[in-house]
Symmetry: C2
Subunit: 228 residues, 2 copies
DNA sequence: CTGCATCCACTTTGATACTG
DNA sequence: CAGTATCAAAGTGGATGCAG
């Protein structure tokens, strides 16, 4: 690991934080991922070897802890790690205000989006009774058009294949529109109004859906500073 | 420049901010450096070519502006650039709390320290009449033992050679002690008490000196979280 | 001296395949 | 699932050169 050779605390923090992928790995840990595979799902383009290395660096820096229960290995932030939250949050805010000028086509990824949304639904405590929400996504890769969120009392699952259960609500959406709603760039109502998203199901469920969905965890509805 | 291929704003900000040296270049711009050479003095280990590249990236990202008046080229942050301040500040705070466990010998650099302090004295509006403060630094590299701050009404100069003027105050200090006081790890009074720093000059001037000196700009006296 | 551009050795990263 | 191994590609550091 390279250093900056300066006593400045900004340099010290940079040595840890400003290596490639590091903020995204931390974002995953802060958003509740604990396992290697969970982190990898949130940062799909990182190579396994590099993720291993980054996690080791975090442990070495006293920012994360690795716990092995048999073959069940989990990672968790230490207090020092949680104090990095303001930095990651500030990075999210800045990106939201200044860098969201049209997501490139390559960056619109249905799997990542669904995994992101699944994560947010957990704290939201979605349903009293089991609920199945189907997503049909247009305008994305042909292999990634259908997802199911199966919400039960204590668990929530993202399925990539039909779980063969009754669907309570079906969300038909353009990938771009769903991403923009998730990122807080547009409201669900706008997207429904112009037809880029449709909510098919009982009116009660459909109207509560946007509330469930919430939006991206580290962004508290941060407004954009650039005209859209 | 590599990207992360994610629509997450944290990823977007990382693409800009989490390249090597970038936070330090931004720190320099935020602390008032405007010229290539000034930035380089604050980040002495970056190579000129890489600094050029980083500055171009900042301009391209709309975070800095390059202004050429004849051969006088200056850089300044745009509004988008200034909004990165909370991130850099939070990085400084975290480093101050968690990463200052003993500066390595290699990181104690008298020139960098003096350049840092000179920068801080400008906003402090040091003196009514011209004042010369001499620094004699022990425990550092043999070539970097003497510095002079020449403070005049509108200008403040850091001299590496004797300016041949009457010295109003002489600061004799261990490099480590002066660095620690500057970083807010210790108070000047403590260092004076244990003899690692001596202030030689008229009592009035000597007593006002710690106030002039202030401490590191992005650190508002942030306390350490690790026992020293 | 400032503000770069270029070249080359070295390190880090990416992509893929493989293991307990 | 949680990594390890491998090798090509890309990024970085450092020296040098050069024009104004």
């Amino acid at each position: 690991m390279p250093t900056y050779g300066q006593f400045c605390p900004v340099a010290k923090t940079s040595e840890l934080l400003c290596e490639r992928w590091m903020p995204l790995v931390l974002r995953e840990l802060m958003c509740g991922s604990a396992r290697f595979g969970e982190i990898q799902r949130g940062v799909p383009l990182i190579s396994p070897g590099l993720l291993t290395k980054r996690l080791r660096q975090l442990v070495l820096a006293g920012v994360a802890e690795r716990t092995a229960n048999g073959r069940d290995i989990t990672y968790a932030l230490t207090p020092a790690g949680w104090e990095l939250y303001p930095i990651i949050e500030a990075m999210g805010v800045w990106g939201q205000r200044w860098a969201r000028s049209r997501y490139g086509v390559d960056e619109l990824d249905p799997s990542l989006l669904m995994w992101d949304m699944r994560r947010m639904l957990v704290p939201a405590g979605l349903a009293e009774r089991p609920t199945v929400v189907e997503f049909r996504i247009r305008g994305g890769p042909p292999r990634k058009t259908r997802y199911w969120l199966v919400v039960e009392e204590n668990a929530i699952d993202l399925c990539l294949v039909d779980p063969q259960r009754d669907v309570d609500l079906c969300v038909e959406a353009e990938l771009r529109a769903l991403t923009e709603v998730w990122m807080g760039d547009r409201t669900m109502a706008e997207a429904v109004a112009d037809g880029t998203i449709s909510l098919l199901g009982p009116p009660g469920l459909a109207s509560r859906f946007p509330v469930w969905l919430g939006c991206h965890p580290v962004l508290g509805g941060v407004p954009s500073a650039v005209p859209t």
